[in-house]
């Protein structure tokens, strides 16, 4: 248990009278990529929002041994969780560079500028357009920017909410390679929520199945890939 980064115990969440999560239990260990597979409306986004306390929740969320279930979103980000929301959450009116700057909002060290340069060089598209409004980027570029923005906070853990949504297959492949790379190079743990099970299971170490607000199965990426039920529901086999 010592290397556990995040754990959710019996987490429930509701929007007004509608309960979206009925007691979710999951955990992410240090350096792991964990995928949560589920259909539309299963509660994938809500699970990530519950971790960041962006929705009315109950239950216990522990991050690095600290109970964060009642913490303010800003404190949770400060503690080291970066959340890439569904739809990318681009600051459309800000420039590409400012999007990266604001990603480092919680940091006080003096390596922010070096990190910005690193990302601008890593993705030349962002580098070329660093002074343009981020809203002028294409969907794939905005997703790259969203990931870079999240990485700018130097998080211990990233929450990725359906990053493949609405992107072309080749771009999705690039994007998942980037996740694998960040995970490998910086040891960032990741909780990835996806419908694109094929690619997600390729880079993930473990996975959970989420159905109508409840975890209905879990296993290693290998086990899930070979599970006939998963194949039928998510892998189109």
């Amino acid at each position: 248990m010592s290397n556990q980064v995040l754990s959710c115990e019996n987490v429930t969440a509701s929007y007004g009278a509608i309960q979206a999560l009925h007691g979710v239990n999951l955990e992410v260990n240090e350096g792991e990529i964990v995928v949560v597979l589920g259909a539309n409306g299963a509660g994938k986004t809500t699970t990530l929002r519950a971790i960041c306390n962006m929705v009315a929740t109950d239950g216990k969320v522990t991050f690095n041994g600290t109970d964060i279930s009642k913490s303010d979103t800003a404190d949770i980000v400060n503690a080291g969780i970066a959340h890439v929301p569904q739809g990318r959450g681009t600051f459309a009116a800000l420039t590409v560079r400012e999007n990266l700057e604001v990603g480092a909002y919680t940091r006080t060290d003096n390596e922010v500028e070096a990190d910005i340069q690193m990302w601008l060089e890593k993705y030349p598209v962002l580098g070329e357009r660093q002074k343009q409004a981020a809203g002028s980027l294409s969907g794939g570029e905005q997703q790259m920017l969203a990931v870079a923005r999240a990485a700018m906070s130097r998080p211990k853990m990233m929450l990725l909410d359906e990053p493949s949504l609405g992107l072309a297959p080749l771009i999705i492949e690039d994007l998942f390679q980037v996740f694998a790379q960040i995970n490998k190079e910086q040891g960032t743990a990741m909780l990835l929520v996806e419908q694109n099970a094929n690619l997600a299971l390729e880079i993930a170490h473990r996975g959970y199945l989420l159905e109508t607000g409840e975890i209905t199965g879990s296993g290693s990426a290998e086990e899930l890939r070979n599970d006939p039920a998963v194949q039928a529901a998510y892998l189109g086999a």
Partner: protein, 317 residues
């Protein structure tokens, strides 16, 4: 020619004040996507703060009429107003769901009536003479092509321009400014990068209230100080902000100038327009020039609903 230049000078002089209040409106709109109906009354309160410090306290009588005191009073008024603005955000608007606009709109309307009524009770509606931050005697002017350009006009434009530039630096060069623009662009994402949105909103209200107070301190000597002094100005400021674009600080500043100039030119050239009638109804006459800014507003909104420099809002549903 002389008359034209004169009317342009007059328009700039009025327009600068509309710009100040319009910029204040835009700051709060950017932060909350709401119009603060109490903006003008909050600015009026600021002018009273300056008056209390400079005149009512007797400092001005005691030290003689020095501009320094009035400038210090203006700065004190800006600081107190900023604190008041931040308090309004914290106490009156933050408890409400930011997605639900109606309660907060009603609160700003209530605040408008409340501040006006309380000011009426405390200070009554009698007009007071407010000393100016600039030399404003009949001879404090330069003459260009026969038109009088008063120091008061120059001072107003330079001072508000300088403060607008400082505002620009705060918004674009500081971390708090970046956070403010981030909240303005996408509240949810701002929270997810660790911005404490509540503090940023308080900051926006404080900036707006401080800036508005300066506008009121500057205009009070021209129109005398009393609780209803900002009513007409606020309406022109609404039009200015809408012409420039409700989410553009620069647009609001320019919008104020456009409204000020069209009003002054309209007043000058159409003030004697009699609708082709030999005996026009008297109540029409003062209203004619007021029509011009409204027509400009209508034309801008017709062709560009988000204002000249506003961003079109596109929302995913």
């Amino acid at each position: 020619m002389q008359l034209l230049i004169q009317r342009i000078f007059d328009g700039i002089s009025d327009g600068a004040v509309y710009s100040a209040i319009a910029v204040a409106l835009v700051l709060i709109f950017k932060a909350t996507t709401l119009i603060n109906f109490a903006q003008g009354e909050m600015a009026m309160l600021g002018a009273f703060f300056a008056y209390i410090f400079a005149v009512q306290s007797g400092i001005l009588d005691f030290l003689g009429n020095t501009y320094l005191i009035i400038w210090v009073a203006a700065i004190i008024a800006m600081v107190l107003s900023a604190a008041f603005g931040a308090t309004v955000e914290r106490v009156l608007t933050r408890p409400f769901d930011p997605e639900d606009h109606l309660p907060v709109v009603l609160i700003t309307l209530g605040l408008f009536l409340g501040i006006n009524a309380v000011a009426g009770i405390v200070w009554n509606y009698q007009a007071r003479i407010m000393p100016s931050m600039f030399p404003n005697g009949a001879d404090d002017k330069i003459v260009i092509f026969g038109a009088r350009l008063f120091y008061d006009t120059i001072g107003t434009v330079v001072t508000l321009g300088a403060v607008l530039y400082i505002l620009f630096l705060i918004l674009n060069k500081t971390k708090m400014g970046l956070a403010f623009r981030a909240v303005s662009a996408n509240v949810e994402s701002a929270r997810l990068v660790g911005v404490r949105t509540g503090r940023v909103l308080s900051f926006g209200w404080a900036l707006a209230a401080g800036f508005g107070a300066l506008g009121a301190v500057i205009v009070a000597p021209r129109i005398t100080l009393q609780p209803s002094m900002m009513a007409a100005i606020t309406i022109y400021a609404f039009a200015s902000a809408a012409v420039g674009g409700l989410d553009s600080v620069g647009g609001a500043a320019l919008g104020g100038m456009i409204v000020g100039l069209t009003k002054s030119l309209g007043n000058g050239y159409l003030g004697s327009w009699h609708f082709g009638l030999e005996h026009p109804p008297l109540e029409f006459l003062p209203a004619t020039p007021l029509l011009i800014p409204v027509l400009i507003l209508l034309a801008v909104l017709w062709y560009k609903p988000s204002g000249l420099f506003g961003t079109k809002r596109i929302e995913r549903v």
